[in-house]
Structure formats: C-alpha cells, structure tokens
C-alpha cells in the first residue's frame, strides 16, 4: 500500500460524495461481500465466546490434544483447551488490537498532520521532522525495547494501568490483569508507530485544501484556527482518511499476529490469532488442526479487510483507482 496525498477530485462535492460512494461500494461485489463476511466474523467473535460450552482457558490435561470432533469442533490443544473457543476469543483480541490501535493512529495522525499542514512554516517543519525521525526507528527493536522496559509488573506504565483499572474493578492489583495490560501495551505500541503515515497523508490533503476560498472565507468570518482545522479542513479530507484507516486495520492486525508469533505480543493464557498460529506452527506435524483453523480465520479476515479498504478507496476516491 502506498501513501498517497491526492485531493478528492473537485474539492469535495458535499453529501453527494457520500451517496455516490455508497452506490459505488454497493456495486463493488468483492468489497460488499467482504463487508458482510467481516460483520459476521465480528459478531461471531463477540458472541461465540459467551455462548460456547468451554471457556478459552479451561484446561483438560487428561484429554490433551485431540483432532476436531463433535464435542470440540476445531479439536483441542496440548493442554486440552477447546480450540473453537480459543479461536473466537483470539479473534476478539485481534480485532480489538486492530481497531483500538487504528483509532489511536487516527486521532494522533489526523491531528498532527492537519495542524502541521494548516499552520505551515516552522510549525510544519518541526512537526514533520519529528515524523521523519520516528520513521527511521526500526520498529521491531522499538517494540522489543518498550516491551522489555515497560511491559512488566514493575513498570510505571503498569502502575498507571492498575490505577486506571482501579476505577472500574476492586481487585486491580491482582496479577491476573497483567496479560490484559500487555495487550493494551501492544495497542499503544502499534498505535504509536502507525500514525506517521496518516499524519503525512492528512498534511498533504490539508495543504491542498488550505488555499481554497472557503477556508479564506472562514478566516474572514473570524473562525479560530483550530476550529478551521477540525471543522472545515478535516471533514473535507474525510475520503482519504477513511480509506487509509480502513487499510490500517488489517495492517495492524497482521503486525499484532507477527509480534505474537515472535512472543512479543499477546501472551498465554490469553489468545489471539497470531499467538494461536505461532503455537500451531510449533506442533504442525503432530496437530495440524491447531495451525489450520486460526490461520484460515486470520487470512480470511485480512483478505476481507483489504478488499473492503480497496473498495472504499475506489468508492471515495475514484480517480486513484489504478487502470
């Protein structure tokens, strides 16, 4: 995927843009089917763990690893845990990481890029050099370092997490919340590195829109600069922002899987698709089902998200379509 910075053709022709986009999206069969599959998968990940007869972490060591059967539709793993429950619970974690980290990237990236683009000059130069510097950081080393220093029970971030959690539950000090903290840590780490491209895209859009007469009109009226940015500029850059957001979700889910595969992301006894694939790959010769089911789920989801993202791009930004 490339980071592009075209403006939506002809500025943004108001509401008809949304209507036209929806019409084009509906006629794009791949994107439309992908959207339906995604909704079904998402609902399944939300509700299956609630309804499934086995909890994702219930062990049955006497049972051990068994192939798919009537009792365990996707079989069980070495610890006798039901893979069906673990796959859908893992889907929750994967989707949550994907959406929340994308949300973090969206908020930081849009704000950063729009402010840099609108104010221009020195503000822009400083802000975009920071982005350039962060871009040069080797992502994997950054995550490993952050993980080593902060994702443990002695880290100040963990204390902050416990304090926040304490607002919602009584036993926030319980060590069983450590894995949850580590998931949030992954959200944060991914979000923090994914906003850079978003900032560049939004900045490009804003620079192109900044000289439009309607922005000058807003200045003439006396709208405050930040209100111009968020009320006039960002909504008019919505097309590319939506497209890039839609394409960031699968990217982040894939990165989460990759980190978990390396042992840097989600940890046992929680599950995520990346973690399940990693575990399955280790025992692939003996228990192939442990690899097949989570891999298929991950692949189907990523494929659908990418189809949907491409469909959105074609729908919202028809000129960017490759011939």
């Amino acid at each position: 995927m490339t980071a592009r910075a075209e403006v939506v053709p002809g500025g943004a022709p108001g509401r008809s843009l949304g209507r036209d986009a929806w019409r084009r999206l509906r006629h794009n069969r791949a994107a439309f089917v992908a959207g339906i599959v995604l909704v079904v998968l998402l609902l399944a990940c939300i509700f299956v763990p609630m309804l499934a007869p086995y909890a994702y972490d219930r062990q049955d060591l006497a049972l051990g690893a068994t192939p798919p059967s009537a009792a365990h539709w996707m079989g069980t793993d070495f610890h006798g845990r039901d893979l069906f429950a673990r796959v859908f619970f893992g889907g929750r974690v994967s989707f949550a990481v994907g959406f929340i980290a994308t949300g973090v990237a969206l908020v930081i990236g849009v704000t950063w890029g729009a402010v840099a683009g609108y104010f221009g000059g020195r503000v822009d130069a400083v802000m975009m050099r920071i982005v350039d510097i962060l871009f040069t950081f080797p992502f994997l080393i950054l995550v490993i370092l952050l993980k080593v220093f902060f994702a443990n029970s002695r880290s100040p971030l963990y204390h902050a997490f416990q304090a926040t959690l304490g607002l919602f539950v009584k036993d926030a000090k319980d060590p069983s919340y450590l894995p949850l903290f580590q998931i949030f840590f992954v959200f944060g780490a991914l979000g923090l590195v994914s906003w850079l491209t978003m900032a560049r895209i939004v900045r490009g859009q804003v620079i192109a829109l900044r000289e439009q007469p309607f922005i000058e009109a807003a200045r003439a009226i006396g709208v405050r600069p930040l209100a111009i940015v968020f009320r006039h500029l960002v909504p008019n850059a919505a097309g590319p922002i939506i497209v890039y957001t839609a394409l960031t979700v699968p990217q982040i889910m894939l990165t989460e899987a990759f980190l978990s595969f390396l042992g840097l992301g989600t940890e046992e006894p929680l599950s995520s698709w990346g973690l399940l694939v990693a575990g399955g790959a280790e025992t692939m010769a003996l228990y192939p089902w442990l690899l097949v089911f989570p891999s298929v789920m991950l692949a189907v989801t990523l494929l659908c998200l990418n189809f949907l993202g491409d469909g959105l791009r074609d729908a919202l930004d028809p000129r960017a379509r490759k011939a």
Binding site: G11, A12, P13, G14, R15, S16, L17, Q212, P213, F214, E216, A217, A218, R219, A220, I221, G222, V223, R224, A227, H232, P235, N236, A238
Partner: protein
Amino acid sequence: MSAPGAARVPEPTLPAAAVLEVDRLRVTFPVRRGVLGRRVGTLVAVDDVSFAVRPGRTLGLVGESGCGKSTLGRAILRLCEAESGRVSVDGVDVRALTGERLRRARRKMQMIFQDPYASLDPRRTVLDCVAEPLTVHGLASSRRAALPAVTRLLERVGLEASHLGRYPHELSGGQRQRVGIARALALEPLLVVADEPVSALDMSIRAQIVNLLVELQRELGLAYLFIAHDLALVRYVSHEVAVMYLGRVVEHAPVRALFARPFHPYTHALLASAPVPDPDAERGRRRLVLAGEPPSPLDPPTGCAFHPRCPHAEARCARERPELRTVGDGHRAACHLEAPRAWPASPPAGTEGA
C-alpha cells in the same frame, strides 16, 4: 442592470467619517526558487495605495487581472499581510491587531467572494454556513439558537427557510452567492469587500445580485469596496472609482467624472475596450485594444509603469514615476500629461485597432 445613462448620482458630500481608510499600503510577496526556497526577488502586488470609503458609499476598483486589486482587498481584511502602510476600519488600525483582537475586529469587515461555490464549505449546509459567524463571535450560543437570525438573513437576501438544510451543490449559482452575502451580513459589518461578486455568475442573474447588493447598502448604510473588471457594472454600483495598474492607483475620481472625462491614458484604453450594450453603436465604434500583456510586476517598467503601452509616452515618462495629482474636482490621476488626450485615430506602436 440599467442603461448606461443611469449611473448613480453622487450625493452631496456627507460629513460622516470614513469607515475604511487606506494609507500608502504596500503588499509584497517574496519570490522563491529552487528546493531551498532561496529568495530571488520581490513581487510588489500593491504599491503606495491610499483611499477612503465612507458609510453608504461604494468605491469601485477596476483594472486588468493581475493588477493587484484582489490582493488589495485581501490585505485590507488581513487575509494576507501588507508590508507597510496603514489600514483603518472604523478608526481601528487593523494592521496592528493580532490574535483574538483581530478576530473580534473582523466583525466590522466582511468579504463577498468571487466564486460562490468554492467559497462555501462543500460539507456544510446553508444553516451551518450562515450560523457560523454568529456562533464564532458568541452572538448565538448554538446553531439552533442562531436559527431565527439565520432565517431572517436568508429572507433578506431572497432565499427561503426551505434552503436551510441544503448543501452548496444543491443550490444554483445565484442562490450560492445569496448565501455568501447572508454570511457576510450576519455580523452586521460596516465594510464589505466584494471581490468580483458576480463575475462567476450567469449573465441573467448578475443584475439580481447587483441590485440586492445596492439595496442592502441603502438599507444598512454599508460601505463597499467593489472590485470588478466590468466597467458597466462598476459605473452602476460605484460612487467613486479607482483604476489600478500594476499595483498602483493611476486614477481616482467620482464615477461621473471618470466616465465623462477620463484623464489617464490607461483609463481611456479601459473605457474604449469595454463593450457597449447597443449593437449598432458597438458596430460603428472604433474599438481600441491595448496590445500585449501588462508588464510583469516582478520587473516593472521604470518611471510610469504604463509608458511602454502608452501612445503619448514621452522621454520623461520612462524616467520619472508620476504621482497622483489633482486634475479636477475630487479627480486625481497619476500622469505627466498636462491634459487628457484622446487616443490617436491611427494606432501607434503599442496599440492596435481591432
């Protein structure tokens, strides 16, 4: 619009103080080249311009495209920065204001834009657009609270409440410009800069919009700086006219004097090249068209900027820049000529009969 004879009669001088005073305003832009943005020159867009506009009066500003008239309007409203000079609106030195004080001062001075489509946010409805000035200046606490005021404004500019929820692309060109006018009037400004407010509109609706602007001026006592290149239009709406050439005012006069007794050769040329709305007269008329492009403001001619295109240019014109001087009652021109001279019958070098 009415027949050319119906130019508005300048009223006797009013004692009211000027709403807008511009004194020796100069606007320049740096010219940068290359990747490092090295400054290679200075473009003087507006140079040494002074004038005043009183309440209820219109100053028409005419000139070829690129002569700096839009930049002048934008600099007055602080939409771009001037290099030197003074702009005062209702006695307040606008160029000295910053931040929140400038923002508040914008209530008194508003703008009507040339392209009504591009100057309305495509994602916002008519209500959003006209309510915005009221909410950002704390005159209404919310869009909903602004609704009665917005409805009144829309009615005043000839729109209906049913237009409130429309988006700009759902309106006609004339309706869009009415929205632009309502937005400019929402803050009850004293001064309105109208930058070619009808040139993007269809011929058939120009007259409606112009008449609306004239009516609003009578009702509200607005002062207009009316930027245009259509001379018939300027003649119809203006009390005074300033002619700009390459960033400078070359002639400034009451509207009747300017059209009856133009002084500057450039004004003669402009008047002569304007079409007359009478086909017979138009056929019989000797049209005189200025040859070539206006000179580049990056490299203006020495002396009088008009001398390379002027049929009466003398050696002095290339050396000395003429200052504005009084040549009649309230009539000033920047020309070395002793008296206005008609363009020669046979086109000399630099001009051609078309």
